[in-house]
Symmetry: C3
Subunit: 140 residues, 3 copies
């Protein structure tokens, strides 16, 4: 069986947003007991990550790392019409990812103890980000 | 139901190649209405990416970024028998990805407006790259 | 049909560990002929990669690259309580990946000739890493 839903994350600009509750709710509602939960962000300047969820300093350090690796306003870039953070947002998205597949086991997402699912907004301004979740597998 | 096909992308060396038409055609032919389209490149020196498809400068800037991050002929590398672009191609593949899972909804790939699917050839010379597409889900 | 199993990789610290035999065995045992094999590591400081499997120098060069890109003890990081290799392990995991989906064709993983599946332990100390494999598709 397959269950598919889309929801919107209203971001307040660059930063990470915990999708755990949304995803857990959709997996539970789907009735899938064993299978795969696929999460997909329909944009190229926001992405997904599985990240340590206990200490928020981890996500802040990831943000610092990305700002150093792909600085806003980097003179390397020619695609600059939409602002100094636009091309870095595309690079950051490609270095992380737009899709994520999680195992579903015993009716829930079989994440590790410290694994959280986050949407990473890479643009400085707030955006509305569409996330599509497709859960497939066997029900009871 | 599951539908699986392999096709070959004949690349003209380093650069990006739009797979959108191939993938859209295979999804349509599969008859899957709701599900997942899995795309896989069977190589370790070419990869896949979901990238902004409106302005080709985005892909050129990504190429510039990768050349700066993983320069050809980097003296760090010891695996150099196949040329100065070989080890960088492996690194670039691992920083991007070999597999991609896309949601299928209403019989088509539910990509965002600006999302294109590209094969990224990382070697300087032309190659024949095998891409396997597996579409699974519910048909009408 | 769906088959799901978890196994543990006992790592001897930072380095790569070939998962090919484990995965091939599980795909064969599942009886799935056409489908997807999903591999998932339930941690945020170890990851997965598809990498050239012929010359181990490729994996050593990847390790060198990551040590240069995300050095242990980097003063950029504030999440340092668990040691100088902890935050780099999180960054390295996010630049690579926690999940991997492989095509299953003719009853086996349809990897390219030179593609190997590796777990990449990013911490310096040995760890026990849980890997969950979910194989779905059509059987004979």
């Amino acid at each position: 069986m397959i269950s598919q839903h889309e929801f919107v994350v209203a971001t307040a600009g660059r930063g990470t947003y915990d999708l755990g509750d949304d995803i857990r709710g959709l997996v539970l509602a789907s009735g899938v007991v064993t299978g795969i939960c696929h999460v997909f962000v329909r944009h190229t300047s926001a992405s997904l990550m599985l990240c340590e969820n206990a200490d928020s300093a981890v996500r802040q350090d990831l943000e610092s790392f990305m700002q150093r690796l792909v600085p806003d306003g980097d003179p390397l870039f020619t695609h600059i019409d939409e602002g100094p953070d636009d091309m870095p947002a595309h690079v950051r998205s490609i270095l992380t990812r737009s899709d994520l597949s999680l195992p579903v086991s015993d009716g829930g997402c079989a994440l590790g103890t410290w694994q959280g699912v986050y949407l990473w907004e890479h643009r400085l301004a707030s955006h509305r980000r569409k996330v599509m979740v497709t859960i497939s597998g066997e029900s009871r």
